[in-house]
Symmetry: C2
């Protein structure tokens, strides 16, 4: 039997409960597929702050780096909201992304036929949406220097950050995006603000340069404000979207809400080599933590992405995916995806897929 | 009779045709209300580039500065898309905003009962939406320095921008936002990314400080990624939103698309003193320019905002607003807001309002 080491980072709020479901699913799937998992649970975020005083203990990062893949629950909560920057749970997540060098964040947003009514968009607009946001994750304004506070010449306080991209950073995320689009429907939309920002002008120039390596992928460009509109107007126009860290943060959340079921959406963060980081896109939802109300499917599907993208175990991933679809078909729902309009069990005959192709 | 000087900046694409409608509306309204307008038309954007080689000629800025208010059509088009930064039509608009020091951009997004079906959101979600985005317009990453391109230590090209806010910049936009919320439903949501960006941490700190001057306004804070979600999930939760330049660019466009009728939405940009700048939020739509297809109502309503916010002529503004509602009630539609589900003329009995209170 094959054996993989997995670092589990339950984190805060609903993190522990959804991670424990995903862990069980991995064990069961592994038993059937002849795969053994060695799990190591480590603290991160607020949980780590309470335990060790820092949001990403060295031991946690080291364990993650040495494992084959990392599965994260969620981080953050009211309790630590007023903490200084270096003591925020979120800072632990950013340090983890940086430490694992996972520059490519894949965020699928898929509207399943079973859940189309969960969307606030009209059925005819939401139906069939199947898009993937490829977000640059270790650069841009999140990490750019200089950053901080200072006092101006006239005694005023100033807060500042730097949005910055280098050619090599853009090139590598562009390649991931073109590869992703190629495996999907062959359409890539690069989102920037090249009519205003120099960092975006370089972005657009490099994405165009890299597109020469992918003549089979259709490349378009869109300004970020327009993209925010178009996601609402007609999300079906999109296949793969590639964008920088901050625009990707905003647009991927918007896209996920368009599906109406953010409790269903997984994500994968990948580097050149080294373990990938897999996490649900939802937050730590402290208001419902510990009440067995959280939808564990986003984390279960993140475990499936872990198998597929992190370990190359596509068959095992598909097994999980099928199980999730079956569960939905049998009518099981958590509160977040329950809609009164829902008509009970039907067998899914459509080739709907939960994991991005 | 009172007399005002108005600088008209038709700009590009559909700009000239919508400005000419708004001009007629102003003249007619003025005749009834005893107001005389002296119009001066000046080139800006692509039109100015073609004529003078720069996107904002000195004469245009000077005329705008010396007038009582400025009404802009739209700028930009494919033709100038590849221009270098200082020769882009958009640069002319940014220079105009800077030159007029209009730091507060008010962007209402209202779903009229007459047009609720134009939204891609379900009727029960879109119905009643009436929000206002107060966007900081002359600071942040749009204008922050340093910015540009350079070569890295290892020979790589780098593009960079600076997101920066000073206390005084935040304080003044916060005050405009609190005043706006006070005149509306008394709820202000400040949107930032204070869990990651120092510029946002200062933003949040100052908004909280200014809130002490407005105990009657209920202040909440939201991260920008969550705001992008919440606008789709439940736009009715918002009254007034205040945010920085780039987040405001993205969120106000998203909010406008939620109404489904961006051809209807005006905007006002105001400074401490000096003339305000009024413009429709839609773009120059080069694909339909010159075909008499463009919806002129966003510009007509921008003229109403000009009267109300720019000149303090509330009665004249209301006259325009009523005329627009009557026009809709009588069943007139441009293609952008035409929906087959539309049931013909009804008299508007609801107190729907096009201009923000
Ligand atoms: C928690 C926060 C730092 C994080 C981000 O902004 O990247 C989150 O919003 C996300 O998208 O994963
Ligand atoms: C044209 C562009 C520079 C402008 C902006 O980004 O501010 C536009 O999108 C707007 O929102 O008015």
């Amino acid at each position: 039997t094959k054996s993989y080491s997995i670092t589990l980072l339950p984190g805060d709020g609903i993190g522990p409960e959804v991670i424990s479901v995903a862990r069980n699913v991995l064990v069961l799937t592994g038993a059937t597929e002849g795969i053994e998992f060695k799990f190591q649970e480590m603290p991160v975020g607020g949980a780590a702050l309470d335990l060790t005083g820092v949001p990403l203990p060295e031991e946690t990062l080291a364990a993650a780096q040495q494992s084959d893949a990392v599965l994260l629950g969620a981080i953050g909560g009211y309790k630590w909201d007023k903490n200084e920057k270096h003591l925020k749970p979120e800072t632990g997540l950013l340090q983890l992304r940086e430490g694992l060098k996972v520059f490519a964040n894949l965020r699928p947003a898929t509207v399943l036929p079973q859940l189309v009514d969960a969307s606030t968009l009209k059925r005819e607009v939401a139906e069939g949406v199947d898009l993937m946001v490829v977000r640059e994750l270790t650069g841009g304004i999140y990490f750019g220097k200089p950053r901080g506070f200072k006092t101006d010449w006239n005694g005023e306080e100033i807060g500042f950050n730097t949005e910055v991209y280098a050619t090599s950073e853009i090139d590598r995320i562009a390649r991931v995006a073109f590869e992703t689009a190629r495996k999907r429907r062959g359409k890539l939309c690069s989102v920037d603000k090249a009519n205003v920002l120099e960092a975006s002008m370089l972005w657009r120039k490099r994405v165009m340069a890299i597109s020469l390596e992918y003549p089979d992928v259709e490349l378009t460009h869109m300004y970020v404000d327009n993209a925010a509109m178009q996601l609402v107007r007609n999300p079906n126009q999109f296949d793969t979207i590639v964008t920088n860290n901050i625009f990707g943060d905003i647009l991927s959340d918007e896209a996920s809400m368009i599906t109406g079921s953010i409790g269903m959406l997984p994500s994968a963060s990948l580097g050149e080599n080294g373990p990938g980081l897999f996490e649900p896109i939802h937050g730590s939802a402290p208001d419902i933590a510990g009440q067995d109300k959280a939808n564990p499917l986003a984390t279960v599907l993140s475990a499936a992405m872990l198998l597929k993208y992190g370990l190359g175990e596509a068959a095992a991933a598909e097994r999980i995916e099928t199980a999730v679809l079956d569960t939905l078909d049998r009518g099981f729902r958590t509160g977040d995806i329950y809609s009164t309009g829902y008509v009970l069990p039907f067998i899914h005959s459509s080739p709907s897929s939960l994991l991005p192709r």
